[in-house]
Amino acid sequence: MKKTLKKITGFQLFLPIVALILVLLFNMIKTPDFFKITVLNGTLYGFMIDIINRASELAILAIGMTLVVASSAGTDISVGAVSAVTAAIICFSLGPDQQNYQMPYLVGILLGLLGGVLCGMWNGLLVAKMRIQPMVATLILFTAGRGISQLICSGQIIHVEKESYRILGSFIPKVPLPTPVFVAAALALVTWLVLKKTALGMYIQAVGINRRAGRLIGINSQLIIFMTYVYCGLCSGIAGAIMSSRIAACDANNIGLNIELDAILAVALGGNSLGGGKFSLLGSIIGAITIQALTTSLYAMHVTADQLPIYKAIVVVIIVTLQSAEFRKWISSLQGKRPVKAKAAS
């Protein structure tokens, strides 16, 4: 009995799934029609759909962040700012005209994603080649990114008026689920296939557990770490495109604001160690949905957007503390003492 219990709690996806169930249960008690899904104009509406919809870009960021954490034992805190850069490039190149885009839609999106990839390359260069701690390296874009985005928009909010621009962030006509969900699912599937069918996933884990050992057995550690940062930049770019499509504009100050904490939280909640090494993409995605469920339920409790970070910060600290080896040692030493005391008493 004890063995099976230990087996269940030791399962990597145990923490994220339990957390998700807890949040959902809490919501069910608080708002009875939480699980109600209605059909309106051929599309689905409801709290659950909203959570999955909003969790899409977070899941996309979490996929990139998971790889970065796994390979380099550090986090990329520039993801929100990079999203803002991408959004600015896309909105700037597509233009505000109601009838026509300034350039083909795909070219605009690709240009934006290229911007995201370039940002990722910059981070990767600093971390992999220059061996700078990931958070300091990405701190540069964390602050400069929004500045660059402002410069592209020349300090204004650029709107994209053409109706079809909204599709990426809302619904494709006659499809019941929102578009971002498909994008996130496709990206997750492709990433998972690439990591499983090639040795890349293994390489990333090997490099993350021990960079030197990885190099000694013939893995180009630098290249692997560099690639994870580039991929994270691409993911931020895709997330940025979706975010700007939702509001059909680029607001350099607010796009992806505070989302880096959510992304890190999703990765940590997914049972991934922030110290690098083994990772689970599925865990991070469940983590992302949990975070979004938490956010939505906090909104439902009339917590404003700029107060949200408090609760998330507390959750981060709790998770990191639970993961910490010192804390576990302390707990197990407490448990270890009990039998000794019992013996002495008897």
Binding site: L126, V136, L151, L261, T304, K312, S324, F327
Partner: protein, 340 residues
């Protein structure tokens, strides 16, 4: 003679010397380019200190933390929160100015101890802990109030606006009026903090322990130093300095609002790194950080004097400068490891 100088200049001081030369070159260039806009006036130079008193204190704390090999990215939010707390307490709760300042400083110490405990005793990554701290404080600021609160407390404004004149630097302007350059009390506080921390780092047991812990934690432990408590004390002191920085910041702006101090952690880290503090820990100097702050101030005055560039450029230039110095450090480190 040259040999003696060479002996003194080891790789630790290279970065500091580059920084000081860079500051002189930049300010000199500013005096030539913007000669007609008053860049050469003494007041312009003193304004570097007046505008950045809070940053000096914060950067000093950051330098200490970085010498231990850690980092604190929560300082910007702590500053925002302290400003908001001060403003809210004095405006809506009628707390006397000095009591409000005291409460805020105690809060800083408490906040620093929580972060320090998590980092030093539970061995969590400083980045993650302080990132959470950053969002926690930013959120708490919004909980207190989401509006901008102007401080109108008489005592507070008196402290904020008391001018300390430098008569010997007085100049006469075109209209024949005598202009005496001045500083505010906040600058004096900042410079006192700088000197005290400089002495602490250089001459006390605690200060040397900070360097030892950052240089090599294992050796420090084997030497019998208490690594955990040293780290803990550093983060507590840093929390105190961050909130003191917030008080000085509030003296300068006389207001509290949610967005205040956003991106400030970057400026503090950049100042420390530009001043020769190594990201890997063990090396650093608060005097260098002072010059880091002055360089940041010079860039800012360039951009405001020039007039047409948007204020976003300051952030971008500082970030680029930080990147440049980080790369420089990494090159120095690789040269050092090759020589070995």
């Amino acid at each position: 003679m040259i040999n003696r100088i060479k002996e003194k200049i080891d790789e630790k001081t290279y970065l500091l010397i580059i920084t000081i030369l860079m500051f002189i070159a930049m300010y000199g260039a500013g005096m030539i380019i913007f000669a007609d806009k008053g860049f050469a006036k003494p007041q312009m130079f003193l304004n570097l200190f007046v505008n950045n008193a809070g940053l000096i204190v914060t950067a000093v704390g950051m330098t200490m933390v970085m010498i231990t090999g850690g980092i604190d990215i929560s300082v910007g939010s702590v500053i925002g929160l302290t400003c908001m707390m001060l403003a809210y307490m004095m405006e809506f709760m009628n707390v006397p100015a000095f009591l409000a300042i005291l409460i805020v400083l105690v809060f800083g110490i408490l906040f620093g101890s929580v972060q320090g405990f998590l980092i030093a005793y539970l061995k969590e990554q400083p980045f993650i802990v302080t990132l959470a701290g950053m969002f926690f404080c930013r959120g708490l600021t919004a909980v207190i109030s989401s509006d901008m609160i102007n401080i109108s407390n008489a005592t507070f404004l008196k402290i904020a606006q008391a001018k300390i004149y430098f008569p010997f630097l007085a100049t006469v302007n075109k209209k024949g009026k005598v202009i005496t350059p001045f500083i505010y009390p906040s600058v004096v506080i900042a410079l006192i903090v700088l000197v005290v921390i400089y002495l602490v780092l250089k001459y006390t047991k605690f200060g040397r322990a900070i360097y030892a812990v950052g240089g090599n934690q294992q050796s420090a432990l084997l030497m019998g130093l208490n690594v955990r408590s040293t780290k803990m004390k550093t983060y507590v002191l840093n929390g105190f300095l961050a909130s003191l920085g917030g008080v000085l910041f509030a003296l300068n702006t006389c207001a509290g609002f949610v967005e205040q101090g956003r991106g400030f952690e970057m400026e503090a880290i950049a100042s420390a790194v530009i001043g020769g503090t190594l990201l890997t820990g063990g090396v650093g100097n608060v005097i260098g950080s002072l010059f880091g702050v002055l360089i940041k101030g010079t860039i800012e005055s360039f951009i405001t004097t020039q007039g047409t560039l948007s204020s976003w450029w300051t952030r971008i230039v500082i970030s680029l400068l930080l990147a440049f110095f980080i790369v420089l450090q990494s090159i120095f480190a690789s040269i050092k490891s090759k020589n070995r």
